[in-house]
C-alpha cells in the first residue's frame, strides 16, 4: 500500500466532492469541540499531509473494538476513515491473509520505522511464555514488542489494552496484562471501554492526524475531551438523582418513569466516558437511556468491582466470603457495641465489689 498520497487525494479518487469534504471537516471540528475556526485547519491538514500508516494488532480480545470502530458516523462512514488512514495491517479488515499479511507488517516496519501509529486491540498474556495467544506462529507479546519499537505513538483500544478487561479479572489465569505494562518507552493513549464509542475512536485518530500530536490526556492516559467527565455528570436522569427519585426494582413504577438507576448499582457516578453525551449508534441511545444501569466498562477492574446491580462493591474478607463495606461496618459496630455492654457490666460489678470491700474495711 502506498502511503504518500494526501488524504484529500484519496477522497477525490473515491468520488467524494469538495462540498462533502468541507462538510466532513466542519462536522469533525464540531465533534472534537474545536469550533468553526478549526474546520479550515482540518481541511488544510487533510490536503497537505501524507496519510499516516497505521498498524492495528489484535491480541487477547473479542473484536468488539473493531466492530464499534467500523460503525463510526462522525467522521462519516467507515470506508472514509479507512482512507484517512493508511491501514497497512489489520487482521479483521485487511484482504491479505497468511504470509502476505505478515509481509505487509514487515514492510511497514521497514519503510515507516518511527512514523506509524500502532493501534492495539486486546492485550498480551504473559503466563506460559505468552502461549495463550499465538499470532503468525509466535506469541502475541513478541509481535507487540517488535511493532511497538518502531511506532511513533501507541493507541490502546478498549478496556483489554487499557486495563486488562475480563481476561485480566480475578484470578486471571493467563496473566493477561494491559499494554502499558509491557510497552514503557512510547506515548500510549488509552481509549478504554468495552467497546469504546465509535466516534470517540475516530475522533482521537482525527485529532492526531490534524494536529500531529497526541490529544491532552488525563492522569490515567485517557484523552480529556472524551474521558474528562463521568457519565453521571451529563446523564439526562441526573435531575431524578438530585431530587431523590430512584428506581427500586427493575419492574417497578419508578423504573418505568425513568427514575435514576443509582440504587440499582448504576456505575455512572464512577465511570469516565462520553456515553451520556456522544451516545451510541449515531447518537441513538446509551445503556442508561435504554433502562439498564451503567456497568462501568471503561473503568479499571470493573469486572472485579461487582456485582453490577449493587451500589457497594463486594469485598472478600477472611471471615465473610462475600461482604460489602456496610456489612463489614455494621458487623464491626455490633461487635464494638457488644464489647461496650460487656465491659460496662464488668466495670459496674467491679465497682460494686470494691465499694462493698471499702465499706467492710471501714
Amino acid at each position: 500500500m502506498a502511503s504518500n498520497e494526501s488524504f484529500y487525494d484519496v477522497f477525490r479518487q473515491q468520488g467524494i466532492s469538495r462540498r462533502s469534504f468541507n462538510k466532513f471537516c466542519s462536522i469533525t471540528a464540531a465533534s472534537l469541540g474545536l469550533g468553526p475556526a478549526f474546520a479550515p485547519r482540518i481541511a488544510h491538514a487533510m490536503e497537505t499531509k501524507r496519510r499516516t500508516p497505521v498498524i492495528w494488532l489484535n491480541g487477547l480480545e473479542c473484536t468488539c473494538c473493531s466492530e464499534s470502530f467500523i460503525r463510526s458516523s462522525h467522521p462519516l462512514v467507515s470506508d472514509m476513515v479507512l482512507s484517512m488512514l493508511s491501514l497497512d495491517y489489520s487482521e479483521v479488515l485487511m484482504a491479505a491473509a497468511g504470509h502476505q499479511a505478515e509481509a505487509a507488517l514487515q514492510e511497514t516496519l521497514r519503510d515507516n520505522y518511527g512514523e506509524y501509529i500502532l493501534a492495539v486491540e486486546g492485550n498480551p498474556p504473559l503466563n506460559e511464555d505468552g502461549m495463550f495467544c499465538i499470532v503468525g506462529g509466535r506469541p502475541f507479546l513478541e509481535q507487540l514488542q517488535e511493532m511497538a519499537a518502531g511506532a511513533k505513538a501507541v493507541i490502546a483500544w478498549g478496556s483489554c489494552a487499557s486495563n486488562g478487561c475480563v481476561q485480566a479479572a480475578k484470578p486471571n489465569p493467563t496473566q493477561a496484562t494491559p499494554i502499558h505494562k509491557v510497552i514503557r518507552d512510547k506515548p500510549i493513549i488509552k481509549i478504554p471501554g468495552c467497546p469504546p464509542i465509535a466516534e470517540v475512536m475516530t475522533g482521537v485518530v482525527t485529532y492526531m492526524l490534524t494536529f500531529g500530536e497526541i490529544p491532552p490526556l488525563d492522569r490515567l492516559g485517557r484523552p480529556k475531551m472524551f474521558y474528562g467527565q463521568r457519565i453521571h455528570d451529563k446523564c439526562y436522569r441526573r435531575p431524578h438523582f438530585d431530587a431523590g427519585q430512584f428506581a427500586e426494582a427493575w419492574d417497578d413504577e419508578n423504573s418505568r418513569k425513568g427514575y435514576c438507576l443509582y440504587k440499582m448499582g448504576c456505575r455512572g457516578p464512577t465511570t469516565y466516558n462520553a456515553c451520556s453525551t456522544v451516545r451510541w449508534n449515531d447518537g441513538v441511545s446509551f445503556p442508561i437511556q435504554s433502562g439498564h444501569g451503567c456497568i462501568g466498562c471503561s473503568e479499571e477492574n470493573f469486572w472485579d468491582n461487582g456485582p453490577f446491580y449493587e451500589r457497594l462493591a463486594k469485598i472478600n474478607t477472611p471471615f465473610f466470603v462475600e461482604s460489602d463495606a456496610d456489612r463489614i461496618g455494621l458487623g464491626a459496630v455490633a461487635v464494638v457495641g457488644t464489647a461496650i455492654a460487656a465491659h460496662t457490666a464488668a466495670s459496674a460489678l467491679q465497682r460494686a465489689r470494691s465499694n462493698s470491700n471499702a465499706a467492710k474495711s471501714e
Binding site: D218, R219, L220, K224, G228, Q229, R230, D233, P239, H240, F241, D242, A243, G244, Q245, F246, A247, E248, N254, Y259, Y262, K263, R267, P269, T270, T271, Y272, G296, E299, E300, N301, F302, N305, R311, L312, A313, I315, A325, D326, I328, G329, L330, A332, V333, V336, G337, I340, H343, T344, A346, S347, Q350, R351
Partner: protein
C-alpha cells in the same frame, strides 16, 4: 483536698516541645488547665461535623426510599449531598486550624499528632492501661493529658482514618468539580493510591465505619473514666480544667 493550686499553663513558644510524651502526674495539683479554648472549640465542632457527615454519608450510599412527583419540585438528595459537602469542607478547615494550633498551643495540643512510638517507657504505660481496662490493675495512673493508650488510639483509629477520609472525600468531591479544578489538583493523587473512583468510594465508606466505631468507644470510655478513674474527663473537654479526685500519688 489539701492543696488547691490553680496552675494555668501559658502556651509554650513556637515549636517548643513539639515532641511530647504523655506526662504521668508526679504530685498533681487537684485542678489543672489542660485543654485550651481552641482545642475545645475544635473538639465539639469536629464532633458536630462528624455526626452530620456520618448521617448524610450513610444516606448517600444507601439512599432513602424514592419520592414521587416531578423532579423539578424536589432537591432532597441534592440537599443531603450539600450538607455532606459543606460539613466536609468545614471539617477540613477546622482540621487545618487544629494543626496550626498544635504549633502555638500548650504541650497537650500536639499530643494527638505525635505519639512517642520510639519510647519503651511509653509502650510500658500503654500496656499498663490495657491491663487497667482488662480489670487486671487495681488503680489507674493519673495523666494530665491523654493516657498513653488513649493517645495511641487517637492517632491510629481516629487521626489516620480521619486524614484518609479527608483525602478520599476530597478526591471524590474533586470528581464532581472536574479534572481541571483546584480540588483535583489538590486531591487527584488519591486515585494513584487507591486506583479507580469505585475503589476510592469503598475505602471512604470503610473509613467512615472506623470513625463510627471509634466514636462509640471514645464516648463510652470518656464516661467510664469520669466515673471509675481518678480524674475528670467529660467536663474537662467543656471547661478545659482537669480535676483530680484524690491527692494520693
Amino acid at each position: 483536698m489539701a492543696t488547691t493550686s490553680e496552675t494555668k499553663k501559658a502556651p509554650s513558644g513556637f515549636f517548643a516541645k513539639v515532641i511530647h510524651h504523655s506526662t504521668e502526674v508526679e504530685s498533681p495539683a487537684s485542678k489543672i488547665y489542660v485543654y485550651e479554648a481552641p482545642v475545645r472549640f475544635w473538639h465539639w465542632m469536629n464532633a458536630l461535623c462528624i455526626v452530620a457527615l456520618v448521617v448524610t454519608g450513610y444516606l448517600i450510599g444507601k439512599p432513602l426510599p424514592s419520592i414521587g412527583g416531578e423532579a423539578s419540585d424536589h432537591f432532597l438528595f441534592g440537599n443531603i449531598r450539600l450538607i455532606h459537602f459543606a460539613a466536609g469542607q468545614l471539617l477540613i478547615v477546622l482540621l487545618v486550624y487544629r494543626i496550626v494550633w498544635a504549633f502555638f498551643g500548650n504541650e497537650h495540643s500536639h499530643q494527638l499528632f505525635l505519639p512517642p512510638f520510639w519510647s519503651r517507657k511509653w509502650w510500658g504505660e500503654v500496656w499498663h492501661e490495657v491491663r487497667w481496662y482488662s480489670f487486671l490493675e487495681k488503680t489507674p495512673k493519673k495523666y494530665i493529658g491523654h493516657n498513653p493508650l488513649a493517645q495511641l488510639a487517637m492517632f491510629t483509629v481516629f487521626l489516620l482514618p480521619l486524614l484518609n477520609l479527608v483525602a478520599t472525600g476530597g478526591a471524590l468531591y474533586a470528581e464532581g468539580e472536574g479534572i481541571d479544578s483546584y480540588w483535583y489538583m489538590a486531591f487527584g493523587w488519591v486515585f494513584s493510591v487507591y486506583g479507580d473512583s469505585f475503589n476510592v468510594h469503598t475505602v471512604h465508606r470503610l473509613s467512615m465505619w472506623v470513625i463510627v466505631c471509634f466514636t462509640m468507644i471514645h464516648t463510652y470510655l470518656a464516661i467510664r473514666e469520669d466515673i471509675m478513674s481518678r480524674q475528670s474527663l467529660v467536663s474537662t473537654m467543656i471547661s478545659g480544667w482537669r480535676y483530680f479526685k484524690d491527692d494520693k500519688e
